[in-house]
């Protein structure tokens, strides 16, 4: 049974989350062993929230869950890549499609992402 290298990051492994169809990079999150096993079992991306210090089924509040379509692992087995179907079309709690909605150029940030929902309507 394959297991990521949880030792290197003190029990946490970073996960690149990518939209399976559009290939947009959606976010970076972290799994511990529990979140990893739960993701495999449920088919829904489940992370470890470092700010809340708890298991986090992505989309449990907003309904914007991430259905696992493919899981890849890097050469060192210390980083994962989840290719997902992003329900609701937005991964970011700000309402943007991707958490990477700001481009940096000449030292300044510029919004380039697409806003899909208004967070005030979703998180009540």
């Amino acid at each position: 049974m394959f297991e990521p290298d949880f030792d290197k990051g003190n029990g946490l492994v970073p996960v690149i989350v990518q939209d399976f169809d559009s290939k947009e990079a959606l976010m970076l999150a972290y799994v511990n062993r529990q979140a990893w096993l739960s993701t495999l079992e449920t088919g829904k991306a489940t992370y470890w929230s470092r700010s809340r210090n708890s298991l986090w089924v992505k989309g449990e509040s907003s309904g914007n869950v991430q259905l696992i379509r493919e899981i890849l692992v890097d050469c060192d087995s210390d980083t994962l890549l989840f290719k997902v179907e992003q329900v609701g079309g937005a991964a970011c709690h700000t309402g943007y499609q991707s958490c990477f909605y700001r481009r940096i150029s000449d030292g300044k940030e510029e919004i380039v992402g697409k806003k899909v929902f208004d967070p005030e309507d979703v998180y009540k």
Copy 2:
């Protein structure tokens, strides 16, 4: 002048590296402030190697440098996304196009990536 949040990760910020054209996720790396500023200045992806504890101009041994095409930052400013032109077509030191050349399914790993070079020919 925009600066990523280096405090959260003890001076390091993770960077998702994505091929600008194919949108393949190539690798995950880390920058400290020095690597970040060097990347901006040179236009070549420069990371902080956690294993060697030193600045790492990606591709300086293999010639497979990563030319920065676009830089994005996530909602928390604690993760970066470099969209790059991968010179030589391979990001991974194993010779694969992407470090994510193994797929996990049913608990087993399967090689799905494309091998571009033989590491023994490149790292002498």
